[in-house]
Symmetry: C2
Subunit: 373 residues, 2 copies
Amino acid sequence: MFTLHHQDGGARAGSLVTPHGVIQTPVFMPVGTQATVKAMAPWEMQDLGTQILLGNTYHLYLRPGLEVITPFGGLHDFMGWDGPILTDSGGFQVFSLAKLRKITEEGVHFQSHIDGSPCFLGPETAMEIQQTLNSDIAMVFDECPPYPCEKEYAAKSWDRTLRWARRCRDWCDAQDDLGGRLHFGIVQGSVYPDLRRESAEALVQVGWDGYAIGGVSVGEPQEEMFKAAEYVTPYLPENRPRYCMGLGTPPQMLELVARGIDMFDCVLPTRIARNGTAFTRFGTVSLKNAGNRLSHEPIETGCECPTCRRFTRAYIRHLIKAEEILGLRLVTIHNLHFYLRLLNDARLAIQEDRFEGFRREFVAGYVPSAASR
Amino acid sequence: MFTLHHQDGGARAGSLVTPHGVIQTPVFMPVGTQATVKAMAPWEMQDLGTQILLGNTYHLYLRPGLEVITPFGGLHDFMGWDGPILTDSGGFQVFSLAKLRKITEEGVHFQSHIDGSPCFLGPETAMEIQQTLNSDIAMVFDECPPYPCEKEYAAKSWDRTLRWARRCRDWCDAQDDLGGRLHFGIVQGSVYPDLRRESAEALVQVGWDGYAIGGVSVGEPQEEMFKAAEYVTPYLPENRPRYCMGLGTPPQMLELVARGIDMFDCVLPTRIARNGTAFTRFGTVSLKNAGNRLSHEPIETGCECPTCRRFTRAYIRHLIKAEEILGLRLVTIHNLHFYLRLLNDARLAIQEDRFEGFRREFVAGYVPSAASR
């Protein structure tokens, strides 16, 4: 369960007990979509101080499939990671990746993006799959409305998502033993304050171990992302963790920590690494840039990650230009270290009642790339 | 310098002193063409017990170029590997990769396979580049004739290669200080016993720290590969290491150890790993095979590599099917461990006068894939 240890303004430092270990929050959760964090080995994730990994129900259900994972007793043994794992419910991916979706009250019929085979996901199946994956934290099955979204559709979508959430709750309550696994609800409601509030209040009434804010990082302006948290957090219980799904940039995460969010996941650090782009406290840098050709500097001066301790920008640039796998590995290591450290530093700052200064200084020094401004 | 410690039949156990450390032979040398062993980090190479790495003069000369590597004082600091490095001379790649070659007495004019820019490599430039790379073992610049090859062309090519070797020797002799770096000659002569003998005798007269057999593993039948070693070794000094270039399968290496060869390099273990194929003592296995879908076995039972200690075939197959980088990383680790261990085991067997039994048993148990039969 969740314990709130300290509050500094709106920012919170807490800890969350799961079957595979205790997570200190605020926390960044690296994304291991297909039972691996892209380009990384599990022992490397451990060395970086990763507290919890994400897995994707939708992807793992389609490939390798449950008949492969079931005999391992779940995802942990299958992928060689014995720390906590959070799985999403598959809802988001069904709407963003799958083809020929048909949404019914029962759930969603769709075609696999891998081989086109017909598939179905609904509230109960999503819960069952996550039980089979032995997730430490399972998410309810929801519909994530797009941005922009008419209020009428957002309201209708939320009504169904609430009915699905109640069925997820019923499924949980019907189990003999949940094995200590936690289950989080997902607040929707698009950009509409009243829908967001209604969504939060209704979910709290249903009752979950934690609450996620969904429908963010779907293309909305950054201000809408912050507002979504502001609309929702007043109606969430203090003694439950709050998870903002699928974001964000380093400043965005700190702004949301300031607004009382505890948990984050994001593919940015691993995705842009594979294109040769690295995070630094001053913003992102493209290692492909000619300016790095002769540079004997590390990616980030003072960084203590395994990449920066050993390698120069000149070498990493060479590897990326030559399309060598080690190049994207080294940048991935740095970027994950950067994200994990940032949330660790935020936690420390909260514990020492200096988070506001920490946030302000970081955000002021960080120049967002054009894409995230 | 080289010390021959023990001989068991034709097989030899020795040690070779280089500026960056002592190499125990027989030895397998993993290939780091572009200043990285594909998919591997240098600390992983060290953990696998790698004694010496290869670098490719041709590739590194074209990209990143000497102006990038020179300020690092050579390849070691550039790539973060402080053990011994052997570099080829670029001769083989000029003939196999580059476009629009024009061979003159001076050297070879060619176009870069990367950007088409005009380039030149000759005996002296190849020596200079390898000095800049700070190679522990530098190879002479040679022409590697194709297979099949008319005797007339093989003889003419060898004559020029010998003149080039003499110019390499002159270049070495003109240096104030070779810094302990070793220089190896390369025996050519295609499949012709008299040319091979003539080539070996002439090179020995020129005088080198070691002798390589070139022009093998260029598409000839396996028997011709073994014969090339048999034609040559009687004319090579016992107190110099012998290096068979660019091969081979596990049984081929043991057959050549039996014929007095000390050093090997080969891209097979890393290349086929990236296609999901692994070496075992019984032959290669494709991890993509449906038979591995539910397998909780490691790639090779009893193998103590970091992959086999942790992961099942089912997981590795999933990673490869899902095109995850970790999949090819895990197979690369296993395959390199397999090759390195095989030559270590061969050395141990020689030291204990049981190499012939070791070789026979291994070769009998190993079923070559169709491609190498």
